[in-house]
C-alpha cells in the first residue's frame, strides 16, 4: 500500500461523514484525478467507499485485515506499538523484532503479521501460522533481574485471558506455563525470547500467536483436533484490528503495573485461571513420561507436582497435560 493510500484512509477515518474530492486533493497536495484513482485502488483492496455527488467520499467499511496505516488509529498506548512493523511475508515476527532491536529500535516496537512462513513454538516446533491469525512480537526491556524474567511469560498469559474472557466472552484457561486453551483446544501460544547476562536483561521479545478467524477448513485434520479460534468460539467473524489494539493496550497496562511493583495479583490470577491445578496430569520431559497431580503454582511461576509417592516436585520446563 502506498503512503498516499494510507493518507487517504486516515483522512476518511478521521472525517465524520463525507469528505469532498476537492478537500482531499488540497489536504494531500495531489490532483482530484489522482485521488479518484487511489480511491479505486482502495476499493480493489476491499475498502468499501461510498461516493456521492456534491458530498464526496465516505468510508463505509474496511477489509478485516491488518492494513498498515490503520492499526494505530484506535490505539491508546504510551509506548507499546508506537512503532509498528508489518512485513508482508515474514518467517517469524520474533526474528524480525530481534533484528530490529539489534539495530537500535525503541522499547515497545511491535512486529505484526497475518501469516508467518516459519512460525514456531517451544523447541522449534511448528506453529501453524496461516491467514486469519494474529502473529505479533513486542520488544520489552523490563527492569527485572533475569531470574524473574519468566514473570513476563505469565503476564502475557493473564493478558490473553483478560482479552479473551472480558472482551470476547470466550472461556479461555491457562495451561501451564502459558498456553491458552478453550476446553481441550489451543487458541493462543506465547513464546518469549530473552537476551540476558546474570546481572541484567538486555531485551525480551514477547511473541504471541492467536487464532482469530481461522475455521476448520483452514487447518489440516490433525490441527483441527487440537486447535480452535476466536471465530469458532464466538460464531462470528472477529475484527482483527480491534483484537490487535486490545492485546497491545492490555499488555501495556499490565506491564506498567509490573514495572511499578503493582502487579501483586499475578500468580493468584494465573492460579485462578489454570486448567491444570487439582488435576491428574501427564508430564513429558527429555527424561521421559511421568504422572502426578498438579497441586500448586509458586511465586516463581514453577508448577508443583505431587507424585503418587506423596513426594512434591517443582517443574520449570516440561509439557504438562491433563490426563484423560
Amino acid at each position: 500500500m502506498t503512503t498516499i493510500n494510507q493518507e487517504i484512509i486516515k483522512q476518511l477515518h478521521t472525517q465524520e461523514g463525507y469528505i469532498s474530492g476537492e478537500n482531499l486533493s488540497k489536504r494531500l497536495g495531489v490532483s482530484r484525478n489522482a485521488i479518484w484513482k487511489q480511491i479505486e485502488a482502495l476499493r480493489s483492496l476491499g475498502y468499501e467507499i461510498e461516493a456521492t455527488p456534491r458530498l464526496g467520499y465516505r468510508l463505509v467499511s474496511t477489509p478485516n485485515q491488518l492494513t498498515p496505516g490503520e492499526m494505530r488509529l484506535n490505539l491508546h498506548t504510551q509506548f507499546i506499538g508506537q512503532e509498528i512493523v508489518t512485513p508482508t511475508t515474514v518467517s517469524s515476527t520474533n526474528d524480525v523484532a530481534k533484528d530490529m532491536v539489534k539495530k537500535g529500535a525503541a522499547e515497545g516496537l511491535t512486529v505484526v503479521a497475518q501469516v508467518q512462513t516459519q512460525g514456531r513454538g517451544r523447541r522449534g516446533r511448528e506453529w501453524y501460522s496461516g491467514e486469519g491469525g494474529l502473529y505479533l512480537s513486542i520488544y520489552l526491556k523490563p527492569n527485572l533481574p533475569p531470574q524473574e524474567a519468566s514473570k513476563l511469560t505469565l503476564l502475557a498469559a493473564i493478558v490473553m485471558i483478560e482479552v479473551l474472557r472480558n472482551d470476547y466472552h470466550i472461556a479461555a484457561e491457562i495451561k501451564w506455563p502459558n498456553d491458552i486453551f478453550v476446553g481441550t483446544k489451543k487458541i493462543c501460544g506465547i513464546l518469549t525470547e530473552l537476551r540476558a547476562d546474570p546481572e541484567a536483561i538486555h531485551y525480551l521479545i514477547l511473541g504471541i500467536g492467536l487464532n482469530v478467524n481461522q475455521t476448520a477448513k483452514d487447518w489440516p485434520e490433525q490441527v483441527q483436533e487440537i486447535a480452535t479460534s476466536m471465530q469458532l468460539e464466538t460464531g462470528k467473524e472477529v475484527n482483527l484490528k480491534a483484537v490487535f489494539v486490545r492485546v497491545l493496550e492490555t499488555v501495556e497496562k499490565q506491564y506498567l503495573r509490573l514495572q511499578n511493583g503493582m502487579l501483586t495479583d499475578l500468580i493468584a490470577n494465573v492460579k485462578a485461571n489454570s486448567c491444570l491445578l487439582g488435576k491428574e496430569v501427564k508430564i513429558l520431559t527429555k527424561a521421559g513420561e511421568s504422572y502426578g497431580k498438579a497441586v500448586d503454582i509458586l511465586d516463581d511461576g514453577s508448577l508443583v507436582i505431587k507424585r503418587s509417592t506423596g513426594q512434591l516436585e517443582k517443574l520449570w520446563a516440561a509439557d504438562v497435560s491433563v490426563r484423560l
Binding site: R122, A149, S150, T153, R195, A196, W316, A317
Partner: protein, 155 residues
C-alpha cells in the same frame, strides 16, 4: 567422594607420570588431565548422572575444583547461567549444537539456550575465545549462576 578426596586425587596425579585419569564413584565422574598446553587446568569434573530433581552434593563437589582452575589461569573464564531452567545445546532438537569443545567462539556468538517456562534465553558469548569445555549436558536442569562453559580467552 568429598572435596578432600578430590584434592588428594589431583595431588597423586600431578606427582605421577600419568597425564590423564578418569574416575567414576557414587554418581560423580571426575576427569583429571595435565596437558602441556594447559598446565594450570588441573581438574575438570562433571556430574552427568545429576537427575532431574538435582543431586546437590555432586553439584557442589563439581563446582569447587573448577573455580580453582579459573583462579589459577586468568585466561580461562566460566560462562554462568543467568537463570534457573533447562539447558539446551542446540536451537532445535533436530539441529546440531551451537558450539562444540575446541570451537573458536566470537563475541556475540550463541552458545546455548536456557529455558524456563517457555522463556527461551539464548546465551551469547561476551568474549572471543576458544571453547575448552561444555559443563552441562543437553536437556539437563541448571541453577542460577551455575557454570555452563569454560572459555579460554584469545587476545
Amino acid at each position: 567422594m568429598n572435596y578432600a578426596d578430590i584434592k588428594d586425587l589431583i595431588q597423586i596425579v600431578s606427582s605421577s607420570e600419568v597425564t590423564e585419569v578418569e574416575v567414576e564413584l557414587e554418581g560423580v565422574r571426575i576427569k583429571i588431565s595435565k596437558h602441556a598446553s594447559q598446565p594450570h587446568l588441573p581438574a575438570i569434573i562433571t556430574a552427568p548422572n545429576c537427575s532431574q530433581d538435582g543431586n546437590q552434593a555432586s553439584l557442589d563437589a563439581s563446582l569447587q575444583p573448577k573455580r580453582a582452575a579459573v583462579e589459577e589461569n586468568k585466561n580461562i573464564i566460566e560462562i554462568l547461567s543467568p537463570m534457573v531452567g533447562t539447558f539446551y545445546s542446540a536451537p532445535t532438537p533436530s539441529s546440531s549444537p551451537f558450539v562444540t569443545e575446541g570451537d573458536k567462539v566470537s563475541q556475540g556468538q550463541s552458545l546455548c539456550i536456557i529455558e524456563a517456562m517457555k522463556l527461551m534465553n539464548e546465551i551469547e558469548s561476551e568474549y572471543q575465545g576458544k571453547l575448552i569445555q561444555s559443563l552441562v549436558e543437553n536437556g539437563q536442569p541448571v541453577e542460577y549462576g551455575q557454570p555452563l562453559f569454560l572459555l579460554e580467552l584469545v587476545e
